[in-house]
């Protein structure tokens, strides 16, 4: 079986910011060694200031490393051929307010050297996908933060990238929008794309990532699959469908001193919210 080249690979990667005189001021990233494999969703997790964005900037060639190396598709991150295969959504939405959504997509499409027909087709698809069809001819200055975020996401996919780097993709989005972004990440994975997801929202990462790396103050604390890292072999969960009192009593007596708790499972707030909003939406539709 052929060994697949990692999409992203860092070896002892480090970045120290310096002052005007070149004196070290802040070690933002220290000795980071990780690999991201083709087709996986990899989460970069950590509190603010842990070095997540610095890592992304190094992987995009926007910063030069002070130590170590970074490889994207086996090449230098600054290589324009590499950038041709990357879609990137920054932490904040930096777009031109004087352009419309269509013009924004067209501009970024041209940066990738796409022809007009391809740009038009992809723009239509992506703008529809992020739910901005109704506002595609409005200037971005009139967009809400969430709308701008959705367009930012759309622009990051205009080149049909092999690697999508998403820095806090759900920031500024309502719960529905966040859930849609997570659904999108799953769809990207299903279509064979590699996704690097950077977030400090643990639930987001847990929901969609195959593997995660946890950073703290520029250092890598842990790296591995979500299941491996979160697995707790000291405990077991037993799920029962519609148990009556007798069954529950039987379980309690069988477990004896090993039992921790017996309680009905709770629905997650996000899925509950999505369900009632969807129900309200369908009621409104049927009324109208």
């Amino acid at each position: 079986m052929a060994i697949q080249t990692p999409v992203l690979r860092t070896v002892g990667l480090g970045k120290t910011y310096t002052d005007f005189w070149g004196r070290p001021r802040l070690a933002a990233l220290k000795d980071l060694t990780v690999e991201v494999r083709p087709g996986e969703v990899f989460g970069l997790l950590g509190p603010n200031g842990s070095g997540k964005t610095t890592t992304i900037k190094l992987l995009l060639g926007l910063l030069r490393p002070t130590s170590g190396d970074a490889f994207v598709f086996g090449c230098d991150p600054g290589d324009r051929v590499v950038k041709q295969r990357i879609g990137y959504l920054p932490e904040e939405t930096y777009l031109y307010k004087f352009l419309t959504a269509d013009e924004t997509m067209s501009f970024f499409g041209r940066l990738f050297g796409l022809d007009e027909a391809t740009i038009r087709t992809r723009s239509d698809t992506l703008i529809r996908m992020v739910g901005l069809e109704h506002a595609r001819r409005r200037h971005l200055g009139e967009y809400s933060k969430g709308m701008a975020r959705r367009l930012g996401l759309a622009q990051s996919l205009i080149n049909d990238p092999d690697l999508v780097i998403l820095d806090e993709p759900t920031s500024g989005l309502d719960p529905i929008g966040s859930a849609e972004v997570k659904d999108l990440i799953v769809r990207l994975k299903q279509s064979g794309k590699t996704v690097l997801l950077c977030s400090h929202l643990l639930a987001d990462v847990e929901d969609v990532c195959d593997r995660i790396a946890i950073l703290h103050q520029g250092s890598l604390l842990e790296v591995g699959s979500v299941d491996e890292l979160l697995r707790n072999d000291d405990r077991q969960v037993v799920e029962l469908r519609a148990p009556d009192a007798a069954v529950l009593e039987a379980v309690r007596s069988a477990a004896g001193d090993h039992l921790v708790s017996v309680a009905p499972p709770r629905e997650r707030l996000e899925s509950h919210f999505r369900r009632i909003i969807a129900a309200a939406g369908s009621q409104g539709t049927s009324r109208s």
Binding site: K57, G61, L62, R80, V81, P90, L99, R110, L111
Partner: protein, 426 residues
């Protein structure tokens, strides 16, 4: 390359959608209006002021927008971190920089075309006519000719010749590539500096004869003064030259106007013009390029305003690239200040030249000023407004010369800005 074009298009779109340029264009129109309302002795002078007003307005708009637009766009991209997103795409930093510069230049070019049209229209409506700047053909060679017909070559680097000898001595210029003559003939303009040989006697005019021939073998045809000439009329076959300083070069006021008959021009467009002094008292000083010239169709006012605008655009390109350099590393205010400082420095180089001539300066200061004269671009080198006002057309060669002169600086500034942008981390 596609990225460069995309950024240039973006810059143009931004320039057109931003309302800032409207204020500058409005100010330009006001300047044009002021140029039309300035009082002058006659209509000819008012027309000159109007042309200067239009060119001045174009210069005002083009220079200020060049300094402001490029720096503002780049600074905004860096401050608002849009550049962060742009450089994550396959867009080279050189492509981004040149695209930004090109976007500003295309925007300014549109402004020049529009302002030249407005200016031409306003002048035509106000004066019921537009001045017609003339294309000029200057002599390719010249030689001295004595009263006995002896010919003496003049050194190629000599720009002036004084006629002080006996009556009958003169100068012969060779004009080549003349336009095909109309039946009325080709207009010939002649002027000279005339002084007395005796300092106690005031002399400012000299009687001369001017003839033309297609070749040395052909018998020359004596030229007569055109009825449109502002001065110079005298007895048939004679021309009364009045003193005109070297700085006076208004086609309508400062030159004797004659007509070269078609028979005096060879089929290949060659014509020999001979000026012979008929009065021994005055000293006549002639120059190779500015004493004798043939004028032709210069292409109309609009075309010449556009060519003048293109010369201004070359200056604007330099200033835009210089402000880009500063904008990459400093705030917008500093960038604007740097652009304006360079413009003022380049417009006031003559003060340095005068100071070097007339002031007592210490050696280091003198060296510094000499260095500034070499390094700082001279924005007064192509006086397009004055040329147009004096009736001179702006030939494409002047436009090319300006782009060559200022383009070198532009390339250097863009290269420096590129190096700084490449070194910049985001």
């Amino acid at each position: 390359m596609k990225g460069l074009v995309a950024v240039a298009r973006l810059g143009l779109k931004e320039a057109l959608r931003a309302r800032l340029w409207l204020a500058f264009v409005a100010a330009g129109v006001v300047l044009m209006g002021l140029g039309l309302r300035l009082g002058a002795v006659d209509e000819g002078a008012r027309l000159k002021l109007a042309v200067v007003g239009v060119m001045g307005a174009m210069g005002f708009v083009v220079i200020l927008l060049a300094i402001l637009a490029g720096a503002q766009q780049i600074r905004r991209d860096l401050d608002a971190r849009v550049a962060f997103l742009l450089f994550s795409k396959p867009l080279s930093r050189l492509g981004y920089l040149v695209g930004r510069w090109l976007g500003v230049m295309i925007g300014l070019l549109i402004g020049i075309l529009a302002l030249a049209a407005v200016g031409t229209g306003v002048i035509a409506l106000t004066f019921d006519r537009t001045p017609e700047p003339a294309a000029v053909v200057t002599p390719s060679t010249w030689e001295r000719v004595s009263a006995l017909g002896e010919r003496t070559p003049i050194a190629t680097d000599a720009q002036r010749q004084s006629l002080t000898g006996p009556v009958g001595d003169g100068i012969r210029w060779t004009l080549t590539n003349l336009p095909s003559a109309s039946p009325e003939g080709i207009p010939l303009l002649v002027k000279a500096m005339v002084r007395g040989t005796d300092p106690t006697v005031m002399v400012d005019e000299c009687l001369v004869s001017i003839d033309a021939a297609p070749s040395l073998d052909a018998s020359p045809l004596v030229l007569t003064v055109d009825s449109d000439s502002p001065y110079g009329g005298s007895l048939p076959g004679q021309v009364l030259l009045r003193h005109r300083d070297v700085n006076r070069d208004d086609h309508r006021q400062d030159f004797v106007r004659l007509l070269i008959p078609p028979a005096a021009v060879a089929p290949d467009g060659t014509c020999l013009i001979r000026l012979t002094r008929l009065d021994a008292r005055p000293l006549v000083v002639l120059t190779k390029d500015t004493s004798v010239m043939v004028t032709g169709d210069g292409g109309g006012l609009y075309v010449n305003l556009v060519r003048g605008g293109l010369v201004l655009l070359a200056v604007a390109g330099l200033l835009a690239s210089a402000t880009l350099v500063v904008a990459v590393v400093a705030h917008l205010g500093v960038s604007l200040l740097a652009g304006l400082t360079l413009y003022f420095a380049g417009s006031l180089l003559w003060t340095l030249q005068e100071a070097l001539i007339y002031e007592r300066l210490s050696a280091p200061v003198r060296r510094l000023m000499e260095l500034a004269l070499v390094l700082v671009p001279d924005f007064d080198r192509f006086t397009v407004a004055a040329r147009l006002a004096a009736g001179h057309g702006i030939p494409w060669s002047v436009v090319g010369e300006a782009w060559l002169a200022y383009g070198c600086y532009t390339v250097v500034f863009l290269a420096v800005a590129w190096i700084m942008l490449v070194r910049k981390e985001f």
